[in-house]
């Protein structure tokens, strides 16, 4: 990841690639479309069409046979064609999901970014850097389902007698009472977030580490000559230099966390107060078979993801422009 440089103006960005293609390479009018056709056709069928269709379905009733107004009950509040959105935005279970997703964002994103930064900084100073980073990174290769099994075992709870879960064994060894980590409200969401942090810290660490290695050596040297201690160097030199990277990492994590599904599905199924948006959408579609509501939740999901996505893509584009 390159250090930010003077950004080219918009005009330069537009001009450059056109001039890039040598004139001699001009080809027939249809050739490009031959190359593009397979990708475009597949994308239109699998992304463009379903997105528009989902948007449409979000205004329809339970099976898409009529407008959503039809699902309004007499004497109940009704939002007309936006009836599904009344559910997606105001129902108790969705409010719980929004609350949980917010907790997920606050804790998982900050957890991953901070642990990632800490480990990247520490590993940068030792000889076994590669091994340490591999260990932290390894959970990224595992599925959320596999991680779910690993952690369900860590959280195993036995009301009385021998504990076979590491965490409760530790609690008992320290003189406490075993806790049912996955069914105790509030505690369980935190327990799930720990799994998320365990899985995603490697991602944050890798990107942060590359940025740290890109901090110009002469600036670090200069700070050292000026008598700055490691903390001053970090806060005054390293941190400002890597902050654009940290922002990308943070926004990417926010996007991922908003769409979190597998961990919750496999470990609690969204029960005991752990429901999140994406799991709710799955349940609406494939357990209660309410297409309208599921589509409305999907639309809500894309709307909450949009700002973070926008920041991310602009950031990536300006970076490839500067390269």
């Amino acid at each position: 990841m390159s250090v930010p440089q003077a950004k080219p103006t918009a005009a330069q960005k537009q001009q450059r690639p056109v001039a890039d293609i040598p004139q001699i390479m001009r080809q027939g009018r249809f050739t490009p479309w031959l190359y593009l056709a397979p990708a475009l056709i597949v994308m239109v069928i699998f992304i463009v069409y379903p997105t528009i269709n989902t948007l449409f379905l979000s205004f329809r009733n339970i099976d898409g046979s009529d407008w959503a107004t039809a699902s309004c009950a007499a004497g109940q509040p009704c939002w007309g064609v936006l009836e599904n959105f009344r559910y997606a935005l105001t129902s108790d279970i969705m409010l719980q999901s929004f609350g949980n997703n917010l907790v997920w964002i606050l804790l998982m994103v900050s957890g991953c970014v901070l642990f990632g930064l800490l480990i990247a900084l520490l590993a940068n100073q030792v000889k076994y850097e590669a091994i340490a980073k591999s260990i932290i990174f390894l959970p990224m290769a595992i599925s959320f389902v596999g991680a779910g099994v690993i952690w369900k075992f860590v959280y195993d709870f036995n009301p009385n007698g021998q504990q076979i879960g590491v965490l409760n064994a530790l609690v008992v060894a320290l003189g406490g009472h075993p806790v049912s980590w996955l069914t105790t409200p509030q505690v369980n969401t935190i327990a799930l977030i720990v799994v998320g942090v365990w899985m995603s810290t490697g991602f944050c660490m890798t990107i942060t580490s590359a940025a740290i290695k890109n901090v110009p050596a002469d600036i670090l040297e200069a700070a050292n000559v000026d008598g700055a201690n490691p903390f001053q160097t970090f806060f005054n030199v390293t941190l400002p230099t890597i902050s654009p990277t940290l922002i990308v990492v943070t926004t990417t994590m926010i996007i991922n966390v908003l769409k979190i599904f597998d961990i919750v599905y496999i470990m609690t199924g969204g029960n005991y107060g752990t429901e999140v948006i994406a799991n709710r959408m799955y349940k609406e579609q494939y357990q209660t078979f309410n297409t309208g509501r599921a589509a409305a939740i999907a639309v809500v999901l894309i709307i909450v993801v949009l700002p973070a996505m926008w920041i991310n893509i602009r950031r990536f584009r300006s970076e490839s422009g500067a390269r």
């Binding site: 990708a39 340490a132 860590v154 064994a169 769409k259 297409t291």
Partner: protein, 392 residues
């Protein structure tokens, strides 16, 4: 001594870093150790006690070994390694009754005090073990065999097959590897899903990215902008219409359906990444090739593709791991018809709450290939990660 002070100056760094690494490793080690322990041990003792002496051994040494000897064979008339004898005193209550009775007018335990109920239970466990009634090794691969064939009984596949008490869906021969509940079949299914779903989008993306970076046509930039925008669409947004469409044309539960879905969903990111790479190649290269009489097809096939191998490799690893580890898409489009590894584990989790030996072995089977791919191609993996991370 400067080197010493440097070493001690870094001590906190080492302590924190190694501590964090251990913290990250412990859950996975727990899984691995549990997956190779016999089921009798898994539910009764924690995996971290795997190297501890067997349950009851210490109590046995205190209360019994002074007469029966440390191996239990010291009194020939009461050989504790004799299964027929131990069979009569399997539990703590029968053992207690025995210990309270006099032997030849003397208390059974002489001057020693009779242990409490829990200790007796431990001793009973120990004597059952040394007598061979309940013998089992410390480590076993039976859990893996059970997971591979989808065994769901109360002991294990090998024992059941030897006794001829296997369930009706098992045949105790190689055909069990095709049992639809087994991880072996799921492993094959996952491969069948993942390989074409990795290759197809990369081929399509390479063609499209080449056209977008080295061909003249109107709307080139607009098209690329739309493509970047398509990356915003979350998976969830596309599931409902596609599964409805598949239901109409009969693609639900077919491999073709899931290949196409993964291809469509993987394309925007794949094109984005490949175009950035191809567009960054020096244009003198392309010009020179043209001067030599090459056309677009030969340039694409003989030059651009080979040059993009590193970028495509990163992409392939990402796409492969993402599909291998995916649960949601497999759940929606394949389900039970062709169960993949993640699907199989998710049903295991919900169907038998405490079958940890099976669950851990199954989870490990699902992780072997991703971990191998990861370790052998870490370089490409990291490179791909750094090249762009908007995928989702």
């Amino acid at each position: 001594m400067p080197s010493l002070s440097r070493t001690f100056g870094k001590l906190p760094v080492h302590v924190i870093l190694i501590g964090l690494c251990l913290l990250w490793l412990i859950p996975t080690i727990g899984l691995l150790v549990t997956s190779i322990r016999p089921f009798q041990d898994v539910t009764s003792t924690g995996w971290w006690t795997v190297n501890a002496p067997p349950t009851g051994q210490a109590s046995y040494q205190t209360s019994c070994s002074s007469c029966h000897g440390s191996d239990g064979k010291a009194i020939a008339a009461a050989d504790l390694t004799d299964p027929n004898l131990i069979q009569k005193y399997r539990r703590s209550t029968s053992l207690l009754a025995l210990l309270k009775k006099d032997i030849n007018g003397q208390p059974h335990m002489g001057t020693l005090t009779v242990p409490d109920q829990q200790t007796l239970a431990d001793i009973a466990t120990y004597t059952r073990r040394i007598s061979g009634i309940d013998a089992h090794p410390t480590f076993t691969i039976n859990n893996y065999i059970d997971a591979m064939v989808g065994y769901r009984g109360t002991t294990n596949y090998v024992t059941d097959c030897a006794a001829g008490t296997e369930s009706s869906d098992l045949h105790c021969d190689a055909s069990d590897l095709q049992n639809s509940r087994g991880m072996a079949e799921a492993f094959v299914n996952t491969l069948v899903v993942a390989v074409p779903s990795t290759i197809l989008p990369i081929i399509f993306a390479a063609f499209a990215a080449y056209a977008m970076s080295w061909m003249h046509f109107r709307g080139r930039f607009a098209l690329f902008a739309v493509l970047v925008a398509l990356q915003i669409v979350p998976l969830q947004m596309t599931l409902i219409p596609i599964s409805k469409l598949y239901a109409q044309i009969g693609l639900n539960g077919t491999f073709l359906g899931i290949w196409l879905f993964h291809t469509g969903f993987g394309l925007p990111y794949a094109i984005y990444l490949t175009r950035n790479f191809l567009g960054g190649l020096p244009n003198e290269l392309f010009e020179a090739a043209y001067m030599d009489g090459a056309n677009h097809w030969t340039v694409f096939w003989r030059m651009a593709l080979p040059l993009s191998v590193p970028a495509l490799a990163s992409l392939a690893i990402f796409q492969f791991l993402w599909i291998w580890n995916d649960l949601l898409v497999a759940l929606v489009f394949l389900g039970a018809q062709h169960p993949v590894l993640t699907y199989q584990i998710s049903t295991l989790v919900s169907s038998l709450g405490a079958g940890w030996q099976l669950l851990t072995a199954a989870a490990f089977i699902s992780m072997i290939l991703p971990m191998l791919v990861f370790f052998s191609m870490q370089r490409y993996f990291v490179r791909g990660l750094l090249a762009g991370s908007v995928k989702g």
